[in-house]
Subunit: 346 residues, 2 copies
């Protein structure tokens, strides 16, 4: 374990600034004295784009590559054309740093209630592929803006890309008590991509006899998220289905304010990036209303990725305790961050 | 209104047979004496495929085209390779008969409870595009089965195809009391297709000043389906997003056993096709356990499409009354069908 943690910080847009500040506060509080936290903030996002027209210059991409990890707040702003920042910055980072494991745990915390009646037990992890599928930007449009326009989006899937994320998911399932892995796709319609995912899944499954496997079409999976979320342990799925399912997972576990994520390159060739699942929420930005818990939990994922398991667990326990103590009275972003920082040091 | 209703019936696989029988029973009961119901059953689905290797021969497709409408049960069976029947039969019909409006109403019926705490009011309609998007079968795979495999799926979107379904959705929204239409897509990532959908939506919106419009990314839409389903009135979306969202809609309104759908060709050039949203449920097939209500409600959509509005409303009232009277004691498929048939004649 290295003596310094050299962190790149991209607060980004909207509530990104506010939640990242609290994430850093808790990180600083939980780190053992002998680990020195060094941070460098990168001014990327809507303001930068308005000022310079840049989303992510190559020089900054190269600098980002030198850090141990990246903490990101949120990207996207209504004043910037849709897709410019998402694709030019967020997706560019995921693709450039080959973040093929987009890890999104979902948990209904004890003593909290979600929107589902009966308060089912929910504790699963979605392993979303992060570098392929419909997210590659492949496609285009012809005769744009005319009545004869044709627009395409191409989902690209490779054995190389599918196998590495499927292997990662099997290893994660093997390490959990229930040892269950569900593949989600739409093999009955998307037969080409679906065939590749299914055959790869079945091949790797043979190496993990202790892992129980299961397949669901994406439409059926959304039903089970609502009616039987307790049936899931680890889920592996493609980039777009993973995007949809993890927002739904956040909703059934009591809100996008708690959903953490890691964009992970398990090889270590590039830094991994940790961010809340929620967006920049421009409607509540700057008002101290955002819940920083998702960012704080993303910091826990970051610590675990870097081998600081004890500290990661301390954060998760602090969040559990804080949620259990919530009595419904409103707290500011800063107050929640301070409460969590106090708990991790207690 | 014609004196005969000439209906093609495709019971299909699994519970399809059972639920279609009850749908026909209710249809026969509700039709006024002067309308003669003529049905012709088509033996299509898993058994036919096992017997002859055929999914839908051209001759039968031509015969189907001559009917006033089609009632379909469910397609798909675990003994047939995934996709063969779905693509060779169900999707073939949707594409051949140009069913560009896939209409899927969602309603939480009075006196029933869904899985969401607080029992929110839910009454919306999803207008799912039915002939384009990722469903065209475009794509392929190279070096299949090798470590160098590449598999693609191409989403095809045309101004022609998008505009006609968007127009249909605006007309439906205009005719409803709340007059609200939400476009769901993923414009920030799928910029080519998303751009076409958004610009078409905005263009048609200018012709409907009384309709309030709204846009949501598909991931955010799933959150609102669970946390604020009452915010939706009419939703228009692409083929794949519509597939996912309508299963989720069925889940939050108390189950796939109630979700009806119409595959509609509003031009009348080909017969429209009505089917429950649920699948063939092989696990409960042949046991009399399936709820035929979704099929019966699909019959109501069929009647409304053919101009029999009074009879459609009678069925919907019968379903409402039957649901309100349910006391949780189990009833067979046949018992539910008989109860609904009795109510529509009462
Ligand atoms: C902002 C957007 C590009 C992003 C995605 O679609 O991946 C977000 O929804 C997410 O889930 O991280
Ligand atoms: C069976 C399958 C091809 C179909 C679809 O994906 O459209 C079904 O899920 C539906 O929603 O009608």
């Amino acid at each position: 374990m290295s003596r310094t943690l050299d962190l790149a910080v991209i607060p980004g847009d909207g509530i990104g600034q506010e939640v990242v500040a609290q994430g850093l506060k808790v990180l600083q509080a939980v780190l053992p004295g002998e680990v020195k936290l060094e941070t460098r903030e990168y001014d990327l996002g809507a303001r930068r784009w308005h000022r310079t027209g840049e989303t992510l210059p190559d020089t900054e991409l190269a600098e980002l590559a030198e850090h141990d990890a990246i903490l990101l707040g949120a990207i996207g702003d209504p004043t910037v054309p849709s897709g410019v920042l998402e694709r030019g910055l967020l997706l560019r980072l995921r693709f450039a740093f080959d973040h093929f494991v987009n890890l999104r745990p979902s948990r209904l915390y004890p003593n909290t209630t979600g929107p589902l009646a009966g308060n089912p037990e929910i504790d699963f992890v979605v392993v979303r592929e992060g570098t392929e599928g419909p997210y590659t930007g492949n496609g285009g449009s012809l005769r744009t803006g005319t009545p004869a326009e044709v627009a395409t989006e191409v989902s690209l899937n490779t054995a190389y890309g599918v196998e590495r994320v499927v292997r990662d998911a099997f290893a994660r399932a093997q390490a959990r008590p229930r040892r269950k892995l569900t593949l989600v796709h739409k093999t009955n319609v998307l037969v080409h991509a679906g065939g590749l995912w299914k055959s790869t899944f079945d091949k790797v499954a043979a190496e993990y006899p202790e892992v129980t496997t299961d397949y669901l079409h994406v439409d059926a999976a959304t039903i089970f998220f609502v009616t039987q979320p307790e049936r899931f342990d680890v889920i592996v799925t493609d980039n777009l289905f993973g995007d949809i399912l993890t927002d739904l997972a956040a909703a059934v576990t009591g809100g996008i304010g708690l959903a953490a994520s890691g964009n992970i390159n398990p090889t270590g060739a590039f830094p991994s990036m940790f961010e809340p699942v929620h967006g920049s929420a421009p409607d509540i930005a700057g008002q101290g209303k955002a819940d920083p818990t998702a960012t704080v939990l993303s910091v826990a994922l970051l610590l675990r990725h870097l081998g600081h398991d004890t500290e990661a667990a301390r954060i998760e326990e602090a969040v559990t305790a804080d949620l259990a103590a919530r009595d419904g009275s409103p707290r500011t972003t800063e107050q929640i961050g301070a409460a969590l920082a106090a708990r991790v040091t207690a």
